[in-house]
């Protein structure tokens, strides 16, 4: 699927439009690239609906950056004024309530769509050769997005913001040796305060735009090998592909409107699904809330953190549960890509999704009572899936492939 140099030459030399655009195109082949990488880009015709999530993510990211920029114009990153500036945005800045609910809904749905995208990658084996680098860049994006989302949640400086930063600081402090130093660097002092807000505001902003850059890289690498397929087999020839435009423009467009409808439903009618009321209490260092919990999308990792009965162990398991995803291309070496053709792996994927949901539920219940065991069992399976099931299934499939003629 790689583009031969000769194609490139043809595209750039034949298709120059006339006029000023042609003048630019001979010097910077924007028109040629647009036609080659978008209009005529060959897409496997068998792609299912899960392959439209990428477009949703791109649009949601753009919305996050634009609404975030507008919010930043009115936000004050200081412990004394942050909460009041959010109140000002919600109550008196014209359209401020709309901007903020867009940004809050966007954060939840963006990470939600990201989980769907990640699931699709794992289920259909999108991480396998020749797409290992695409997977690594995608996982880097995932980690960056989680950090950005956490930093953003601290900025309103409500009770959950403050105590979330406090818990994160204590988790960092569990690193042996340098932990306390790292905690001080993260908090900018002994406890969350002005220093923390300044840091996290800059981090939130910087990472958000870095994410945009890495998304560009992600798409560029995608265009080298092209998208995978639900069957896992690359399209046999041009008869099994369709040009991106108009076929996938129309399909992605329809999917985007469906996504926008879900977005509007949550943002306008069901905001209680994503809004944490406790964060409308201003940060109070003297009063620990009874339930400190992060946003729903961080709950599974919070569940892992709490399920391990040691501070350092919990931190390692929690960070490890993200890092192990990076290693997927090297843990699963089977030539069979799609879970559709791998019954054992497919059952394993179902169990992985269930454990991930259970971890989130255990995280929300502070792994109390029976949830401690649920959390521990789910954590165990999560790692078994990647570290044992993936290599074992691969081993068996490779052996079977060798036996077959």
């Amino acid at each position: 699927m790689t583009t031969a140099p000769s194609d490139h030459d043809t595209d750039c030399s034949v298709d120059h439009p006339a006029g000023p655009l042609g003048w630019v195109d001979t010097r910077l082949p924007v028109v040629g690239v647009f036609k080659r990488e978008y209009v005529r880009f060959p897409m496997p015709r068998s792609l299912n609906l899960l392959w439209t999530v990428g477009a949703m993510l791109t649009v949601a990211l753009t919305l996050m950056l634009l609404s975030g920029l507008a919010l930043a114009l009115h936000y004050t990153p200081s412990a004394a004024d942050a909460f009041a500036s959010i109140e000002e945005i919600e109550r008196r800045v014209p359209g401020g309530w709309l901007l903020r609910s867009m940004h809050m809904t966007g954060a939840s749905l963006f990470v939600g769509a990201l989980y769907l995208h990640l699931f699709r990658g794992l289920y259909y084996g999108s991480y396998k050769a020749p797409r290992a680098l695409l997977w690594l860049i995608g996982m880097t994006l995932f980690a960056m997005v989680l950090v950005t989302a956490f930093a953003g949640y601290v900025l309103p400086w409500g009770q959950m913001s403050y105590w979330g930063a406090d818990v994160a600081g204590k988790a960092i402090a569990a690193v042996p040796g340098v932990g306390p130093l790292l905690e001080r660097m993260f908090l900018g002092g002994d406890h969350p305060g002005d220093g923390t807000l300044h840091r996290l505001f800059v981090l939130h902003f910087t990472l958000a735009f870095a994410v945009l850059g890495v998304v560009g890289l992600h798409i560029a690498v995608l265009h080298v090998s092209g998208p995978g397929t639900p069957s896992g087999r690359p399209p046999a020839g041009p008869s099994e592909t369709l040009p991106f435009h108009p076929y996938f423009t129309a399909k992605d467009g329809l999917a985007l409107v469906v996504f926008a409808l879900a977005f509007a439903a949550v943002m306008f009618f069901l905001p209680s699904l994503i809004v944490e009321p406790a964060n409308y209490r201003p940060a109070n260092p003297m009063r620990t809330p009874p339930n400190i919990e992060p946003e729903w999308y961080l709950l599974p990792f919070y569940g892992v953190l709490q399920s391990v009965p040691s501070k350092l162990g919990g931190l390692l398991a929690s960070v490890g549960s993200i890092l192990v995803l990076f290693a997927a291309p090297w843990l699963d070496t089977s030539p069979v890509r799609s879970a559709r053709e791998r019954p054992v792996y497919r059952a394993g994927m179902a169990a992985l999704v269930v454990s991930f949901i259970l971890l989130g539920m255990a995280g929300a219940r502070h792994v109390q009572g029976v949830w401690l065991y649920v959390g521990q069992a789910a954590t165990l399976y999560y790692f078994v899936h990647f570290l044992a099931l993936m290599p074992l299934v691969s081993h068996r499939e490779i052996a079977a492939a060798k036996r077959a003629p």
Binding site: L261, F269, Q368
Partner: protein, 252 residues
């Protein structure tokens, strides 16, 4: 292939997990009576505030609640959102005084001034419990408007065998069934400008509606915009559905 069975497996496991979950959120159930559910004008995804009730509720707030509670994030100009015009809001503002400069001078408030916070809410009364700020009370108070209403109307003599400590009052909806706030509302606590009979129930109903409005002043507008956006998107979705079908009609 077997995808439906896969999805079914995930869904049933999630349902089993939900059924197994202990009701941990009800752990504190014994600490107060559950507030009965009430019908509010702003309930549900398409509800909207009864602005007459919001305005009457402001009267209750201004004459009773604001003696002790602050509402530091709300400005007099924000009152225009409950249906007052500029002159009416200015008249309300001018009836309050706010500090002017550092020498203890005061001046009449303007639309750009926040509601003044009474001394007790600023912690300036030694030994007094600090009353919570009411800017977002209806959102952050566990139980929401239902429980605020229940609390305001839930004072009564303690059951036999229970004696209240000094300066606290028995209220079966308060945390621990005891509260430092004296019963704030009685029949005729306020006089309504629109002639509505100021019974305890009416006052509690109105002030709760006002607190709910002030906690989410743009709720009505949010829902109005939402209906328009949803209709637009549904129309656009139909067009794109037809477009997609036509574009893909020659693919088999």
């Amino acid at each position: 292939m077997n995808r439906p069975s896969f999805l079914r497996g995930v869904a049933s496991a999630a349902i089993v997990a939900a059924l197994l979950s202990p009701a941990s959120s009800f752990a504190a159930k014994g600490d107060h009576d559950p507030a009965p559910k009430r019908a509010w004008s702003f309930d549900g995804p398409l509800g909207h505030f009864d602005l007459a009730s919001v305005q009457r509720g402001y009267a209750v707030y201004a004459q009773v609640c604001s003696n002790c509670h602050g509402m530091e994030h709300v400005y007099f100009g924000d009152l225009r959102g409950m249906g007052l015009n500029d002159h009416q809001a200015e008249a309300v503002a001018e009836s309050h005084t706010v500090p002017d400069g550092v020498e203890g001078k005061t001046r009449p408030a303007t639309l750009d001034d926040a509601f003044p916070t009474p001394p007790v809410a600023r912690g300036l009364t030694p030994g007094a419990v600090i009353p919570p700020d009411q800017s977002r009370l209806a959102v952050v108070y566990p139980g929401g408007p239902d429980r605020i209403y229940a609390l305001l109307t839930g004072y009564g003599p303690p059951p036999a065998g229970v004696t209240e400590a000094k300066d606290t009052f028995y209220n079966r909806f308060a945390l621990g069934r005891t509260i430092a706030m004296p019963p704030p509302l009685h029949d005729g606590s306020v006089v309504y400008a629109d002639g509505t009979q100021a019974t305890l129930d009416q006052e509690a109903q109105d002030v709760t509606t006002f607190l709910a409005w002030v906690a989410q002043p743009h709720l009505d507008e949010r829902r109005r915009v939402g209906v328009r956006v949803t209709l637009y998107l549904l129309f656009l979705g139909c067009l794109l559905f037809i477009l997609k079908r036509r574009v893909w009609s020659n693919v088999h």
